[in-house]
């Protein structure tokens, strides 16, 4: 399959290794991966702040970037939800509504794509360690991704999956919320990190780098030895 890679802006700038891991996993399964030029940000920050006109400007660039793609895969439940769930709302009544809907239909979150579209759970990964999984809210509640990452993790050789208490509780990131209401965001982060630490896991994994940025931010500040990795990084381990 010819797969277009959708790399969220902050993954592009902060976590390129996550995007490379996606490339490795998909290529390892025999697919052809392309990275369409011209992608920048999906427009979620202005959209979530209420500035829909500005969000549409960014979104039009994203739509244009993937116009010729057959299928689009991104390693973020949040940014994929922006395209898949919110573009149709953002473009309701707009001349580009149909195009927005087309992109929404062909765009998939990474773990959901592997399990539900490719029908793969064992990607041949090996990773030794105790891992706990945090459900990113957008992936979980907008896209309904819950069992897919776990199905993939269970097939990783040497990996022990430990469920944390309230894995579905938000880490407190929430985009601009994290800096507009830092005290609330931090309190939520504290609760999340203590759930992670209680499991005794060595690594916290998520399918969203934005949640991991929030979680890692606090774990680092607490000088914790618990590492954080994107699901793709685990699946690309050999």
């Amino acid at each position: 399959m010819r797969i277009s890679l959708f790399v969220p802006c902050f993954v592009d700038q902060l976590y390129p290794q996550v995007a490379w891991s996606v490339v490795r996993v998909l290529e390892g399964l025999g697919h052809q991966v392309e990275f369409p030029d011209g992608q920048s940000c999906c427009g979620q920050p202005p959209f979530n702040s209420g500035y829909w006109d500005e969000a549409r400007v960014a979104a039009r660039a994203t739509i244009a970037a993937f116009r010729d793609s057959e299928v689009v895969v991104g390693p973020s439940g949040s940014c994929v939800a922006m395209i898949k769930i919110f573009y149709p709302q953002l473009f309701a009544g707009d001349p580009q509504e149909l195009e927005a809907r087309e992109l929404a239909a062909k765009t998939h979150e990474f773990s959901s794509f592997l399990v539900n579209i490719l029908g793969v759970t064992d990607v041949g990964a090996k990773f030794s360690g105790k891992v706990t999984f945090h459900d990113g809210c957008h992936g979980l509640r907008e896209l309904g991704v819950k069992k897919e990452p776990r199905a993939l993790l269970e097939k990783v050789q040497g990996l022990e999956l430990l469920e944390m208490a309230e894995a579905e509780t938000c880490c407190g990131f929430g985009g601009t919320f994290a800096v507009k209401f830092p005290t609330i965001s931090t309190a939520m982060d504290e609760v999340k990190c203590s759930s992670i630490l209680e499991t005794g896991a060595d690594v916290v994994v998520s399918n969203d780098s934005s949640c991991l940025m929030q979680i890692r931010g606090m774990l680092e500040k607490q000088k914790s030895t618990v590492r954080s990795l994107h699901l793709a990084e685990i699946l690309a381990s050999r």
């Binding site: 790399v7 829909w52 509780t169 938000c170 407190g172 830092p182 982060d189 609760v191 940025m213």
Partner: protein, 469 residues
């Protein structure tokens, strides 16, 4: 004068800093989750029940004109009087008039958030009426001169020791931390009040159009006494409480109990259909229903957010909300706390003044998932944000998002801008986390991620070729 938003931020800071308080609330709610899940399991399908409840409520809200008329005709036929109050003031004035005209001296109330919404107690007390809350939780917060902390559990923020201390001080009781004994202390103080009161004020959980009856759900039996012992019963009912048919209660009573308190059914579920009838030996001589609009019809006019009128005030959205669990009920400064409050308060009390509550959310969606009538709560928060920006954009935000949009639609320039950021990143390390740090909102409590030496874009170009950008 501090602004509403500054006060919200101040209280949120205060309550999040109180770790003991946060742990207490979270522990209390973890007990609720277990009971709620057990009660949910008695439904053949909770999801189907939610669908049906959402449809039923949506139908009711879309035909309010018809169902409210039907309700009014039926209940008036049995001698109740219905007063249509378009504002909080009209509702308060009417209740005061009834009290005055009937020579009322003392008033007892059962739990009604709608009366909190219209600040009824203040109005009654200002006119010299003694008002006693008969719901145990409400009674406790009344003694503390506090508003309810949670729309279903008004005193959930208090420990038994705090309640015992309060009772010792206010009622002269002896210290105890036994919940039964605490209940008995309150009950003894209250029984006398029931007999003295000549007006009982209640709310309603549902108003059934078909039979012209209100339905009240409770666990203590105090609402029954409040509504039947005094000679006048006034029920304050939001217009959205209407349900088309009696049989709808077969769904809504267990659903409210499950979502609200983690019970299969609450202990008492009572229908009230009028004052004492000629062949009856007890009950109130007069029954007044106050149907309250108070800007609900404005919400009704908003086709996108009309479904919020389906809310049955169960509090399930508060109980799962990570914001509520960390900032507590008092930070909101609203009658209705938590996600539903953040959604509807801007409609009830002004969008610009209350829009910050819609922003104070990570949009995690736990509320929407929990809502028994499937109100799309977290997406309504997004719509409130959009409506607020559309009505009156915040200049700094508008400018930054205009710049953002322009950059993102010009990827080569955007990439140059980030390259500039890489140059300045080492400078940031000098101020990281200090008062001078422009990113202090993040860095004060969290480590800042580092820009990768090369973006994925650059790396891809280097390793895989492709067009330059």
């Amino acid at each position: 004068m501090t602004s509403i938003v500054a006060e919200f931020q101040r209280l949120a800071r205060r309550y999040t800093a109180d770790r003991q308080h946060r742990a207490f609330i979270q522990k209390g709610l973890s007990g609720y989750y277990q009971k709620r899940d057990a009660a949910k399991a008695s439904f053949q399908s909770w999801e189907d029940a939610r669908d049906l409840a959402a449809q039923t409520k949506y139908d009711a809200v879309n035909h309010l004109d018809q169902y409210l008329m039907e309700f009014t005709e039926k209940i008036e036929a049995r001698g109740a009087k219905v007063f249509w109050a378009s504002s909080a003031k009209e509702a308060r004035d009417f209740i005061l008039r009834v009290a005055r005209e009937n020579g009322v001296r003392s008033i007892i109330k059962s739990k009604t958030m709608t009366s909190e919404e219209i600040h009824l107690n203040d109005a009654l007390e200002k006119e010299g009426y003694g008002v006693i809350e008969s719901d145990l939780g409400e009674y406790i917060v009344q003694l503390r001169k506090e508003p309810p902390y949670h729309l279903v559990f008004p005193a959930m923020h208090l420990t038994r020791a705090q309640i015992s201390e309060l009772f010792q001080k206010e009622l002269g009781s002896s210290p105890t931390d036994d919940p039964e004994e605490l209940t008995m202390i309150a009950r003894r103080a209250m029984r006398r009040k029931y007999c003295e009161a000549d007006m009982g004020i209640s709310g309603a959980n549902f108003a059934v159009a078909e039979t012209g009856m209100i339905s009240i759900t409770e666990n203590e039996g105090n609402a029954r006494l409040t509504t039947s012992l005094p000679r006048i019963h006034v029920a304050l009912v939001g217009i959205e409480k209407v349900l088309p048919k009696l049989e709808n209660l077969a769904l809504f009573l267990p659903m409210l109990a499950t979502a609200g308190a983690g019970q299969q059914m609450t202990c008492y579920n009572t229908m009230y259909g009028g004052p004492r009838q000629p062949d009856e030996i007890d009950g109130p001589e007069q029954m007044h229903i106050v149907l309250l609009d108070n800007r609900r019809t404005e919400l009704l006019a908003d086709a996108q957010q009309r479904d919020t009128l389906g809310c049955i005030r169960c509090g399930a959205c508060l109980n799962v909300c990570p914001i509520f669990k960390n900032i507590g009920g008092y930070s909101y400064g609203t009658t209705y706390q938590g996600p539903i409050g953040s959604v509807i308060t801007p409609h009830l009390r002004g969008l610009q003044e209350w829009k910050h509550l819609s922003s104070a959310s990570s949009l995690c969606g736990a509320c929407t998932e929990a809502c028994p009538v499937k109100i799309d709560l977290h997406h309504h928060l997004l719509q409130n944000r959009r409506n607020a920006a559309r009505m009156k954009a915040v200049p700094a935000e508008k400018i930054s998002f205009l710049a953002f949009a322009w950059l993102m639609s010009h990827p080569p320039i955007y990439r140059m801008a980030v390259a500039l950021g890489r140059i300045f990143e080492p400078l940031h390390r000098l101020v990281n986390g200090t008062a001078l740090d422009p990113m202090r909102a993040w860095t004060k409590t969290r480590a800042l991620p580092k820009l990768a030496p090369d973006s994925f874009h650059q790396q891809w170009k280097k390793h895989r070729g492709g067009k330059p950008s």
